[in-house]
């Protein structure tokens, strides 16, 4: 039997009436998987009482390709380009999380210059992710692409830099176990530094348009309020968690890479609503600019690969390791078990996008469908990572 009839049968009708003995007649709306507000192929089965949401069940798996199984049948290095495809906006941080876990598994060191380059790439990726998220969030508010195109104009400059360095705009495949693949030229560093120094001007321009916008305030303040204690219990991480006032940033807590050498602050929200989630991203971008300026100032000369690292015939000793980094969307972790062979016995991705959806229903109950679109937009998911 083909896979496709089964997928079609599972989807069911788009809208149907259901009867509930407490609420009377309810309406069940199947939003997605082909719906522009779902940022990909995500489906929400929403039950409505009049206009209010009384139940919301997310449905996953439309982009599932069993990434973990493929990685278990490939060598350690063979999975590196494939991690680019998890969260396809943030390939550099995906690479780093995987490289970090393998380095923990095999006990490899990373030279200073490579550590700085990793921080530079991760923070540039954070800029790309956060400004696109803000653009997509406004798209969900109904602004027909204008803020998104402002973000894409700046994003283009950063991915041009990625392309000139790694050869690919989005699928960078830049990190290696024990270092980085290419050393940037002085011209590249000068161009990147100039871009970063100009970035606050773009942010000011962006904020002038968006932050005080009346429609924005009316649609986001007090919408989708998330309680900090519930968010901790549900394992939410990243900007959404910090928007609810929980101070947990792995760059500070785990102090991985060279982050302890940088001076930056962790912005926290006070209300945990959609507006705070928007504002946290803007503030984090400003902090990322500070980190980047320090990194360009202090970047040392030296090798970019650990001389003991082997690309071919890489076989870590038996054991296991769980490595995690603060990705732009939250805690991205890789759990690896080695049995001494060239392929990992177990390769697990801890996807922040999937786990951040745990409380989507709680945030949406009592709101309207139009609000659920905005709330989903403020969570920031990429389906390549949710479904893996």
């Amino acid at each position: 039997m083909s896979l496709f009839p089964a997928m079609g049968a599972a989807a069911g009708p788009t809208v149907r009436a259901v009867h509930d003995e407490f609420h009377g007649d309810l309406l069940e709306v199947s939003m997605g998987p082909q719906h522009p507000s779902t940022h990909g192929v995500f489906r929400m089965v929403v039950t409505l009482d009049g206009e209010q949401i009384v139940k919301l069940k997310p449905v996953f798996g439309y982009l599932h390709r069993n990434h973990e199984k493929i990685a278990e049948n490939t060598s350690y290095l063979g999975s590196m380009p494939y991690t680019d495809r998890l969260d396809y906006l943030c390939s550099m941080t995906n690479n780093w999380a995987y490289a970090l876990s393998v380095e923990k598994l095999a006990g490899l060191a990373v030279p200073d210059r490579a550590q700085y380059l990793r921080v530079i790439m991760a923070e540039l990726t954070r800029l790309v992710n956060h400004m696109c998220l803000v653009g997509f969030l406004f798209n969900d508010l109904g602004t027909s692409f204008t803020p998104l195109l402002y973000a894409f104009r700046e994003r283009e400059k950063i991915i041009d830099l990625f392309e000139s360095l790694s050869g690919s705009r989005m699928m960078c495949n830049y990190q290696r176990f024990g270092g980085c693949r290419v050393d940037p030229s002085p011209e590249w560093l000068a161009a990147a530094s100039a871009l970063v120094n100009n970035f606050p001007r773009f942010l000011d321009e962006y904020e002038t348009m968006l932050t005080g916008n009346e429609i924005m305030l009316a649609r986001t303040q007090g919408v989708g309020v998330l309680d900090g204690a519930a968010a901790v219990n549900a394992g939410l991480t990243g900007p959404i968690l910090r928007a609810s006032g929980v101070d947990y940033d792995l760059r500070k807590v785990d102090a991985y890479g060279f982050y302890p050498r940088f001076d930056f602050r962790v912005p926290l929200g006070a209300h945990g609503d959609t507006y705070d989630r928007y504002m946290i991203r803007i503030l984090e971008m400003r902090e990322s600019v500070k980190i980047l300026q320090q990194a360009f100032r202090d970047l040392p000369a030296g090798p970019i690969m650990d001389p003991k690292a082997k690309l071919r015939g890489f076989r870590p000793k038996p054991g296991e390791a769980y490595g995690r980094i603060e990705g732009p969307k939250g805690e991205l972790g890789f759990y690896l078990i080695s049995d001494g062979s060239p392929n990992p016995w177990r390769y697990r991705v801890r996807p922040p996008s999937l786990i951040n959806l745990t409380l989507l229903e709680d945030m949406c109950i009592g709101r309207t469908i139009a609000d659920s679109v905005v709330i989903l937009g403020s969570i920031d998911i990429v389906l390549g990572e949710v479904d893996r």
């Binding site: 089964a6 599972a10 759990y335």
Partner: protein
């Protein structure tokens, strides 16, 4: 944070009936773990979350592992005295025995309040076929909700006490568990509307041949083992 031995000793003092084993991790990461029993896992998890010194309020990662049956060959050396009075001979004896497989779940716990971790806990099923029920830790940490559904989907571990145990990534009518090591992928994995080449061969092997028209000599179906390779 306390060491894992201290945590284990404190747990054993608090839950005298529980059996807790320390599983060592030989790799350079040296993140050792605690192997719990299914019967007491939920109580211990609640204690780990609520205990004031530990406060492991955040379950970062929950995942499954498949350990299939393994044939273990043990070599024992025996010295046999030479009857002629010479030096004793050393004979190697090989014994084979089957180590039964099991499924395992691993939870990585951290504390957001105390900013420490990880404490790794594991649970093991009795076997890989009929004793595959483990207690769900979703009542303790809600972050396990989707992750346990994923483990159920891809490994086939059933979680008792899970509020909504359905498949997460595969569709509802799907029957197997793809992350198990002995899973066989379907033949028409690369389904195409107009198959050709090796895909056509596989499709021919997979689907029954149309009934032969009278008067036309029936061609023998292709050998399925050849077409698969």
């Amino acid at each position: 944070m306390e060491t894992l031995e201290q945590i284990r000793d404190r747990l054993l003092a608090r839950f005298p009936a529980a059996k807790i084993e320390l599983v060592t991790n030989p790799g350079p990461a040296a993140e050792h773990s605690l192997l719990l029993e299914a019967a007491t896992a939920l109580e211990i998890a609640t204690f780990l979350r609520d205990d004031d010194a530990l406060r492991l309020d955040y379950c970062s990662n929950a995942t499954g592992i498949d350990w299939p049956d393994k044939e273990i060959v043990e070599t024992t050396k025996k010295s046999v005295p030479d009857p002629a009075g010479g030096p004793a001979k050393i004979i190697e004896e090989k014994t084979k025995h089957l180590q039964p497989g099991y499924l395992e779940t691993v939870y990585h716990l951290y504390s957001m309040a105390r900013k420490h971790g990880p404490v790794v806990i594991r649970l093991r099923t009795g076997n890989r076929s009929d004793q595959v029920t483990l207690p769900s830790l979703t009542p303790v940490w809600r972050s396990c909700d989707f992750q346990e559904r994923e483990i159920y989907d891809l490994y086939g571990i059933r979680f008792s006490g899970h509020p909504d145990l359905r498949r997460l990534l595969m569709w509802d009518g799907f029957e197997d568990h793809p992350m198990r090591k002995d899973y066989v992928a379907p033949d028409d994995f690369e389904w195409e509307p107009t198959p050709h080449g090796s895909v056509l061969d596989r499709a021919k092997a997979h689907y029954p041949a149309p009934p032969a028209e009278p008067g036309v000599a029936a061609t023998p179906p292709p050998n399925p083992t050849e077409a698969k390779s």
